[in-house]
């Protein structure tokens, strides 16, 4: 049999076998295998993408966490500052009020002291006046015991009147 003369029988059987093989393999082998391979490739792809997305989300979460922390720190700072200011103000207010009260009390005391002093002075003045009157009365009585003294006295008084 010439090796380069294609035999009819072999052409027939090869064609038949090849097409049956093509049909069976395409339907029952290549289709599921290619499908599985593609699905796996897609699954791997999407898994990688999901991991990437998760990483990005994590990063953004972290940055937002930091933002939150920063804000909280600032707020704490603010609150502390306000509290400090309030405390200072409260202390200052209290001091003012206290000094005012003290001044008021002092004033009142001073006024009272003054009043007491005036009253005492008046009393003293009255006492001194009474005393002076008493003394003068006593001196007068002693001086004007005899009639000559009384006459002399009246004379001097008359003289004063005349001079006027």
């Amino acid at each position: 049999m010439g090796i380069v003369t294609p035999g009819f029988g072999l052409i027939f059987w090869t064609t038949l076998t090849f097409f049956i093989l093509l049909f069976l393999l395409a339907k029952f082998a290549w289709k599921p295998i290619l499908k599985a391979v593609q699905e796996r490739e897609e699954a791997i792809d999407s898994a990688l993408k999901a991991a990437e997305a998760a990483k990005a989300e994590m990063a953004s979460l972290q940055s937002s966490n930091e933002q939150l922390l920063k804000e909280a720190r600032e707020e704490r700072e603010q609150i502390l500052k306000e509290a400090r200011a309030l405390r200072d103000k409260t202390i200052a207010d209290a001091k003012t009020a206290a000094s005012e009260e003290a001044a008021k009390v002092l004033d009142a005391a001073r006024a009272q002291i003054h009043n007491e002093k005036m009253a005492a002075m008046t009393e003293v003045k009255n006492q001194v006046a009474q005393l002076a009157i008493d003394m003068s009365e006593r001196i007068l009585r002693a001086e004007l015991k005899d009639a000559t003294a009384q006459k002399a006295m009246i004379d001097r008084a008359m003289e004063d009147v005349k001079m006027n």
Partner: protein, 400 residues
């Protein structure tokens, strides 16, 4: 384009390899028969059909006589790389032991089926088989309607005296020959391999490929991505099953051809009928899918002076046929050459009739067999790659 240059390089490489192998054959075997054989092996690319035919019929009788006296490697090798109606296993006490295969003939009177054993190993047309009311003879593994009486050589056929060919009529022979049986066995192996792989994907979807799938998947992905996607472009998806089938069909058949004993060892992909069917499939698929752009480039090549266009159209039109033709010849020649070389090296022991040549014979055979393992995969790859390239040129969109 990488896709174009790579196969060209490989093609050149393979041609060199073939020359190298043929050279090796020349060195290894006695010049007397080797040159004759190499001559026929080389010449088959063009007009060897006639040559070999003549050679076979002219010297058929003398070959048979020689075979009784001594060993004739050319006959053995030619018998091996050709097809036969029985599957010859070995000789036992000078008697050939074969597995009989069904002979199926479509005659003028309908289908006739009988066992190849009924020829009793006769290939010279001396033994007539009567079946279905008709008489047949086997002459060099071709089946003819037998003549009523034998001629002077005892052959029940008439020779044409001018062409030295058998003049008798032939029925349509669709027998399960050795190659067909090997082909069917390969088909079963392929089906078993890939259907079980597909099952493992059903069992284990989206998991890492294990076992057979781990072996098959890289190859499938390779054919899909590196052969189909790279060379066809974005229409590649519907051609992937065809390319996968071609690739594994050729590869598995090549590998089974390298197995030296039953049920391997048949020269299936080294048979021109098989490679012709594959090449015709490539031809049909390419041209059925050819778009406007493809035919435009064949019959009216854009971007050239008008007077060149008709000339180029003739060249390109011939190219439609020569491309698949080269596929057919390349696969056939490579695989056949491999079988011839291995058999020649094995034959050395019988040619020199000394056992001392066996170390060289075995080592060289081992070397060539390992090389043939590479060639088996490489030829499957090249055939599939070029098919993808031709389809790609037929379906690609108009952009440059």
């Amino acid at each position: 384009m990488r896709g174009v240059s790579l196969p060209r390089i490989l093609q050149g490489l393979m041609m060199n390899l073939n020359r190298f192998l043929l050279g090796l054959l020349l060195l290894a075997a006695p010049a007397a028969w080797a040159s004759e054989d190499v001559h026929s092996a080389e010449a088959h690319a063009d007009t060897a059909a006639v040559h070999v035919e003549e050679h076979a019929t002219e010297h058929g009788a003398s070959h048979a006589e020689e075979a009784k006296e001594g060993f004739d490697p050319a006959t053995v090798i030619m018998h091996h790389i050709g097809d036969s109606h029985g599957w010859h296993l070995f000789d036992w006490n000078e008697h050939p032991v074969s597995i009989p295969l069904p002979v199926i003939l479509y005659t003028d009177n309908g289908l006739v089926v009988f066992s190849s054993a009924e020829f009793h190993h006769d290939q010279e047309g001396t033994h007539v088989v009567e079946a279905g009311g008709q008489r047949f003879v086997n002459i060099h593994e071709k089946i003819y309607y037998a003549s009523d009486v034998a001629n002077e050589h005892g052959v029940y056929a008439d020779m044409d005296h001018e062409t030295h060919e058998v003049a008798n009529a032939k029925p349509w022979d669709v027998s399960i020959t050795k190659n067909v049986a090997a082909l069917l066995f390969a088909a079963i192996v392929i089906l078993a391999l890939f259907l079980s792989t597909a099952r493992s994907y059903k069992k284990n979807p989206n998991g890492a490929p294990r076992g057979l799938a781990g072996f098959v998947e890289p190859l499938v992905v390779f054919v899909r991505d590196d052969i189909a996607k790279n060379n066809i472009g974005h229409h590649y998806k519907r051609f992937v099953p065809l390319l996968l089938t071609i690739f594994f069909f050729i590869w598995i058949n090549n590998l089974l051809g390298l197995v030296p004993f039953f049920p391997g060892g048949a020269n299936v992909t080294g048979n021109i009928a098989v490679t012709m069917v594959l090449a015709v499939i490539t031809f049909v698929v390419t041209n059925i899918n050819g778009n406007k752009h493809y035919w435009g480039h064949i019959f009216w090549m854009p971007g050239l002076p008008v007077f060149v266009k008709p000339v180029l159209a003739i060249v390109e039109f011939i190219g439609i046929f020569t491309k698949p033709f080269s596929l057919m010849i390349r696969l056939f020649a490579n695989i056949t050459a491999g079988h011839i070389i291995v058999l020649s090296l094995v034959s050395l022991v019988f040619i020199f009739e000394t056992v001392w040549v066996s170390p060289a014979s075995v080592l060289l055979t081992l070397f060539i067999s390992v090389l043939e393992l590479l060639v088996a995969a490489l030829q499957a790859y090249i055939f599939t790659l070029l098919t993808a390239l031709y389809i790609g040129s037929a379906v690609q969109d108009d952009h440059h």
